[in-house]
């Protein structure tokens, strides 16, 4: 039975699938996919991703550095629930289901993941699953006064000659193998540098994913449940009882 909190710290939950397709998805396939999920995601919008690439290269003839600048953009489809708290991003061989704050429960989220996954499989008939990821981004704020990191997180790290109470910013990350190397979990704990001096704001980010693309499509739903169970166990072990109290206020 998944643990539920009155005020879960989850800023965003994402389940992302990456597939190998035999070709570029057709408009007809996209329309078929949307028809299958439309009742849960009735609002359709275009999304956009952009980046600027700056490259510095040395010009051998002049010996001077030259900077080149390239902008890349691409569009993708997105579908939102009526209240826009749930959404789906469709981007060729990549499909993801998102839930933003307030997160309700796994029991609420997982049927939508299954709906989107099954609709994708039926509409695009991918060759194989390349990657599945289940990511939970948590935002947790603590009072800054007399804040001691180890009171709130069961995470051990130290710099012997430096004093814990003088710590002003934290960035910790690690990747761990799971399920005998089939999966991995990427854990990040970052302190955000905000303007509120009365608070210490942390982002605790867990991304659990399949590292070896040997999973057959009939095993995917089982994988997702296992991933969620493993994530929940890791989350519960990382936060202390003092932190847990904040989630039930």
């Amino acid at each position: 039975m998944p643990k539920t909190y009155r005020n879960p710290p989850i800023i965003e939950a994402v389940c992302e699938f990456r597939f190998e397709l035999s070709g570029k998805p057709s408009e007809k396939q996209i329309a078929t996919f949307y028809e299958k999920i439309k009742s849960s995601f009735p609002v359709s919008k275009k999304g956009k991703v952009g980046s600027i690439e700056l490259k510095v290269e040395s010009d051998k003839s002049s010996g001077k550095n030259q900077m080149t600048h390239k902008e890349n953009f691409y569009d993708f489809d997105q579908y939102f629930s009526q209240d826009e708290k749930y959404s789906v991003q469709l981007d060729g061989g990549r499909v993801s289901i998102h839930r933003i704050k307030p997160y309700i429960s796994w029991t609420d989220f997982s049927p939508l993941i299954k709906l989107v996954y099954n609709s994708y499989i039926k509409s695009f008939t991918p060759i194989k699953v390349i990657r599945i990821g289940l990511r939970y981004v948590n935002g947790i704020n603590f009072p800054a006064e007399q804040f001691i990191f180890s009171d709130y997180f069961n995470v051990k790290f130290s710099f012997p000659s430096l004093v814990e109470k003088n710590q002003k910013s934290i960035f910790i990350g690690s990747v761990f193998e799971q399920e005998k190397g089939r999966d991995a979990i990427k854990v990040q704990l970052v302190e955000k540098q905000g303007t509120q001096v009365s608070e210490r704001a942390f982002v605790l980010d867990f991304d659990y994913f399949l590292t070896t693309p040997f999973i057959t499509s009939d095993k995917v739903e089982k994988w997702i449940e296992e991933a969620h169970n493993n994530l929940e166990e890791v989350f519960e072990s990382v936060v202390s009882d003092k932190t847990r109290i904040l989630f039930d206020k």
Binding site: E12, V56, L134
Partner: protein, 156 residues
């Protein structure tokens, strides 16, 4: 003065001067094995869009609040990529600041984001340019996601 010499090309995915943890995140993601690429989330997309703006010279004020706002107004993100070019087309290469305005006493915790355009044009000329920008671009977008995006002028 420091002179850097490089004998091979380098991709500067994160320019110097970022104080946000996101830059470490980007660097870590780049140095990790491809098998460990992370799932794309709203927060990664928002970081990406804000980094795009920064690289265009836009100053982001109180980025934590801006990120929170964009998470709840994710549909606006696609338009943010167009803003610098639209502003520069009308005002030239001017300093831009992106910030959040909140009215906690207002209805439903009213919030809007603003691009503040710093200009040395006369108030009449600047207002005329801003009206053109609004008429020719912003007001033509029939999408409620853009309703919370505004421009303001700051006279240098």
């Amino acid at each position: 003065m420091t002179t850097a010499t490089m004998d091979k090309s380098i991709d500067f995915l994160t320019p110097n001067g970022f104080s946000r943890p996101a830059s470490f995140d980007v660097i870590w993601d780049n140095i990790l094995s491809k098998n460990y690429t992370q799932s794309r989330s709203f927060s990664s997309d928002i970081t990406n869009a804000l980094n795009f703006l920064r690289k265009k010279g836009v100053e982001i004020e109180d980025d934590i609040s801006v990120e929170d706002f964009l998470t709840n107004n994710y549909g606006m993100l696609a338009y943010l990529y167009d803003v610098p070019k639209k502003v520069f087309d009308y005002f030239g290469d001017v300093p831009l600041k992106f910030s959040l305005f909140s009215d906690p006493d207002g209805q439903d915790n009213f919030q809007q984001v603003f691009f503040e355009i710093q200009t040395n044009l006369s108030p009449e000329k600047a207002n005329e340019k801003l009206s053109q920008l609004n008429r020719n671009w912003l007001l033509k977008i029939e999408d409620k996601d853009i309703y919370s995006l505004n421009f303001s002028l700051n006279f240098a």
